[in-house]
């Protein structure tokens, strides 16, 4: 079985701030990390590899420094890595990104399973997985909370809204996984050493045979016009004060007045 895991380098959301003067994102001093949900996708691939045997290829699109998350993927047990890096890929929305990822999957070929984290913590779109499946013309299972492969089908549970679905899709297929699907492992020193010897590819648009009218900014129908911080609240708050019993009387009076009781 050949498994492709698609991962992304994202800014640590705890660090993200807007420059108060320019209104742009402050990038200096912001740590870059592996998108946390992508660790669940990698762990999922590792469990399948342990159970059934598999070649696992980690793929990421980004600038040269995005190679850091691919190194981590190799240290976590992936067998090969592909960095998709080209100035022509910059500024991509999810349509252009998914096109580029699909071209990489085509170049690798013979894939059985494409794994994605449910969403990336920077854009929060959750679109790239299903969109990549659409470019490749293969089925998809989104929001998987368990995953197994049986007789050429991938079987998943999905906990959605008020129900739990069990679904299956014929390989090759794409699956996006939730954070509840597993507990990601940490890289071991032995695996970090092993990772140094694994094949690492860097591909540009020409290597992928990608049409650069469909990548990066030219291939992106949507664009960000402005970014700003959400407005802060300034509601007039009515406070209840006194002993706990006095507060409780005022509080329950309020609940009655507001018809909450």
């Amino acid at each position: 079985m050949k498994i492709l895991v698609f991962i992304k380098q994202v800014p640590d959301t705890e660090d993200v701030k807007l420059d108060p003067r320019t209104g742009n994102l402050q990038r200096e001093g912001v740590k870059s990390i592996l998108n946390p949900l992508d660790a669940n996708a990698i762990e999922c691939a590792m469990q399948l590899k342990a159970r059934y045997g598999a070649t696992v290829v980690a793929i990421s699109m980004g600038p040269p420094q995005a190679d850091a998350v691919l190194k981590k993927a190799l240290a976590l047990g992936c067998d090969e890595s592909c960095l998709l890096s080209d100035r022509a890929f910059g500024g991509a929305d999810t349509l252009a990104t998914s096109y580029t990822l699909a071209k990489a999957a085509e170049k690798i070929g013979d894939y059985d399973l494409l794994l994605f984290g449910r969403h990336a913590t920077d854009g929060d779109t959750a679109q790239t997985g299903p969109a990549t499946a659409a470019w490749l013309g293969i089925p998809q299972i989104t929001l998987a909370t368990s995953l197994d492969v049986r007789d050429g089908w991938v079987v998943c549970t999905r906990e959605i809204e008020d129900r739990i679905e069990t679904v299956r899709a014929k390989l090759p297929t794409a699956v996006t996984v939730c954070d509840t699907i597993n507990e990601p492992e940490y890289p071991t020193p032995k695996n970090i050493m092993k990772a140094l010897k694994k094949p690492r590819y860097v591909w540009n648009a020409a290597d992928l045979g990608a049409d650069t009218r469909l990548t990066g900014i030219p291939g992106s129908p949507s664009s960000t016009k402005t970014v700003f911080e959400p407005p802060k609240g300034n509601t007039d708050t009515r406070y209840f004060e006194g002993s706990p019993a006095e507060i409780a009387v005022q509080f329950v009076d309020m609940l009655e007045r507001e018809h909450a009781l």
């Binding site: 800014p11 959301t13 993200v16 807007l18 994102l25 999810t94 349509l95 998914s98 913590t121 854009g123 929060d124 779109t125 679109q127 299903p130 969109a131 499946a133 659409a134 089925p139 998809q140 989104t142 929001l143 906990e159 959605i160 809204e161 008020d162 129900r163 739990i164 679905e165 679904v167 299956r168 899709a169 014929k170 954070d179 992106s220 129908p221 949507s222 960000t224 016009k225 402005t226 970014v227 700003f228 911080e229 959400p230 802060k232 609240g233 300034n234 509601t235 708050t237 406070y239 209840f240 706990p244 019993a245 507060i247 409780a248 509080f251 329950v252 309020m254 609940l255 909450a260 009781l261």
Partner: protein
């Protein structure tokens, strides 16, 4: 050419013949957008044996209902739905196409983006026209710390998934009139995707997003057992227990209970926040509650900035007193 596209379309998500409430919220917002551009509002209904839902869509603000029925559409599956909807869009050329950011909408819309080669904004929390008359979608990024205005300048339709519980639906009005159009579509069933089983979630894990009252606990809750106290208060008020992210990360409550950017967006009539400071990520998920009441020992907690009522105190003293007072009045 984008000039050839007009009209606002709402994807009328249904499951087992029941419309998702987000459809009514989107129809209501479409009425507001129409006041700017005077575009026709169309609800697009896919399924099998669902034409009876058309009147409900009209009563909620649709001026036209497009119905495409096919056996392959009886249970939702991404590829048959994408085929059917793509054919309708290519036939009618709407300018805007909106989906609820539900599990179904978020499954279907990215495939529509590729099929139609247009833009798709994820998880919008507002829609409107900016000073240049350009349609924008406001969407949170970086865990809700930042809001972005996204625009789709050249490609059509302009598409977005929109968060449930953001816009108020119009009350149903059976005197509204609308056109019902039945269309045929050519759809191949998807033999490569199958729903094997579907079961309701176990009792006690009912979704928090449709509860009228929530009692929500956060990082300030010191002990797992204190959630039993909050649960008791929720039950006394005929509401449900919810939480911010830290208690879920602790493993004290399941993820279904989590309000916020990485959890569920809620819009209850009442929310009681206990031991919640009010991070941006949390506020994004509950700021549209009609009545916000907060208990926190820290007078500077940001949650008070959006609360109508506040108590600055130790919840371990105040909450038992409130429970006792309610029981006294009920007796």
């Amino acid at each position: 050419m984008k000039e050839n596209y007009s009209g606002i379309w709402i994807f009328a998500e249904q499951r087992q013949g029941v419309l998702n409430p987000v459809v009514f919220e989107l129809l209501s917002k479409a009425q507001e957008l129409k006041s700017v551009t005077d575009e026709t509002i169309t609800a697009v209904l896919l399924g099998s044996g669902v034409s009876g839902l058309a009147d409900e869509l009209i009563a909620r603000g649709a001026e036209r209902v497009l119905i495409a029925e096919h056996e392959a559409l009886s249970v939702y599956s991404a590829r048959p739905y994408q085929q059917a909807l793509t054919q309708l869009v290519e036939r009618y050329k709407p300018s805007i196409l909106l989906y609820g950011a539900t599990s179904q909408g978020r499954d279907l819309a990215p495939r529509m983006m590729v099929a139609l080669q247009t833009g798709l904004t994820a998880d919008a929390i507002d829609l409107g026209y900016d000073e240049d008359g350009v349609f924008f979608q406001a969407t949170p990024a970086y865990g809700g710390k930042i809001l972005a205005h996204i625009v789709i300048l050249e490609k059509r339709p302009q598409m977005a998934t929109v968060r449930p519980q953001i816009f108020d639906p119009l009350p149903p009005d059976s005197t509204r009139r609308g056109e019902i159009v039945t269309e045929t579509v050519e759809v191949a069933g998807d033999g490569d995707y199958e729903v094997l089983a579907c079961a309701p979630k176990p009792e006690g894990t009912q979704p928090i997003d449709r509860a009228a009252l929530l009692v929500s606990g956060g990082r300030g809750i010191k002990h797992e057992t204190d959630f039993a106290m909050l649960d008791e208060l929720a039950r006394l008020l005929h509401g449900q227990l919810a939480s911010s992210r830290p208690p879920v990360d602790q493993g004290w409550l399941p993820h279904e209970k989590q309000i916020g950017q990485s959890g569920t967006t809620v819009k209850p009539a009442y929310i009681l926040n206990v031991g919640i400071s009010g991070s941006v990520q949390y506020q994004v998920g509950m700021q549209n509650a009609a009545c916000i009441i907060s208990i926190n020992h820290n007078p500077d907690a940001p949650i008070f900035g959006i609360s109508q009522y506040g108590v600055v105190a130790d919840y371990r003293k105040v909450v038992p007193a409130i429970i006792a007072e309610i029981c006294k009045r009920k007796a």
